[in-house]
């Protein structure tokens, strides 16, 4: 009983630390996904972690002997224990985007407003993006204005990309 409680409190502390680091990263680096992920890494994994832009970080994670790829569901389970799980998709010729799985219950994607130009009328319209399924929550920041990419646990890992067949290409990594 006592052992279980100690383990539980250890997990709770790890989760609290991951949430705290994620929340601080969101506040400090609201317009740079790679800086936000780097901040979490320095707070939890390695205080001396070198900063890398998103595409370079994804290259490193993909080829590193210290990191391994995990499924999004396995990544969620690890985040529930306070373990850092990084997600990302490279965009050659552009920045790419990286995120951290935020601890907590999975939630429905979408649910926020977006604006688009009606091609038939030329008028701007507002709509609410519908859910495309339930996913783990995300820490995500971005220099752009897409609301799905601004999350401290209130959006999901699907929302930065907001497209099912693109999300199929998003990879997740954790420490070996």
């Amino acid at each position: 009983m006592g052992t279980t409680s100690a383990a539980d409190s250890g997990v709770e502390a790890a989760v609290a630390k991951l949430k705290k680091a994620s929340d601080e990263a969101y506040a400090k680096y609201n317009s740079s996904c790679s800086h936000a992920v780097w901040y979490v890494l320095t707070q939890i994994v390695n205080p001396d972690a070198k900063y890398k832009v998103a595409n370079a970080l994804i290259d490193d994670l993909s080829s590193s002997s210290y990191w391994k790829e995990v499924s999004v569901d396995d990544g969620w389970a690890l985040a529930q224990k306070g373990i850092v799980v990084i997600g990302g998709l490279k965009q050659p010729g552009d920045h790419g985007h990286v995120i951290v799985i935020y601890p907590g219950e999975k939630k429905a994607s979408g649910g926020y407003a977006y604006t688009y130009k009606d091609k038939a009328t030329g008028k701007m319209k507002n709509d609410i993006l519908r859910s495309h399924g339930t996913y783990p929550r995300a820490l995500s920041t971005s220099q752009g204005s897409w609301p799905g990419a601004k999350s401290k646990g209130d959006k999901t890992v699907w929302d930065p990309w907001a497209k099912d067949d693109v999300f199929d290409d998003v990879k997740f990594w954790t420490r070996k």
């Binding site: 977006y114 130009k117 091609k119």
Partner: protein, 141 residues
């Protein structure tokens, strides 16, 4: 170059409704036909679900549904390919579709300009005509 104008797309004809397979049947009221012609060429058609009209019929909190991708059809209904993204709206993205590289009254290239507010940003997709496969082919997703 021939650019599809969403405002000129029309409801399906009875004949066009027969071109579409089972996965389209529940969406038929929301499908529009966009004619593509250049000079005296035989027309091609892009048949696409107007996502905005379909989603307007769903309950407010209902999840999105995967819609069949638009098809490119010849005048006799033969399917010549599929656009990899909805037209003119694939929430939250909008698309502009142009048929280019016309040779002997037939387009050999389709350019899709995607206005994308997500982290992917605005980008282009291209389909090219394969005379061997008799299909427009390009990115598979």
């Amino acid at each position: 170059m021939v650019k599809i104008r969403a405002s000129q797309c029309t409801p399906l004809t009875t004949q066009q409704r027969e071109w579409l397979g089972p996965e389209w049947q529940r969406f038929l009221p929301f499908v529009r036909s966009c004619e593509v012609t250049w000079r005296k060429s035989a027309p091609l058609y892009v048949l696409s679900i107007w996502a905005e009209d379909f989603e307007a019929t769903l309950p407010k909190d209902a999840p999105a549904e995967r819609l069949p991708k638009p098809i490119i059809a010849a005048n006799d209904g033969k399917v010549l390919g599929r656009l990899p993204i909805g037209f003119p709206l694939d929430p939250p993205r909008t698309t502009d579709v142009s048929f280019t590289k016309w040779l002997d009254g037939f387009p050999h290239r389709i350019c899709i300009a995607v206005t994308d507010p997500t982290v992917l940003g605005n980008h282009s997709l291209v389909l090219t005509w394969s005379s061997q496969e008799h299909l427009f082919i390009g990115k598979s997703k």
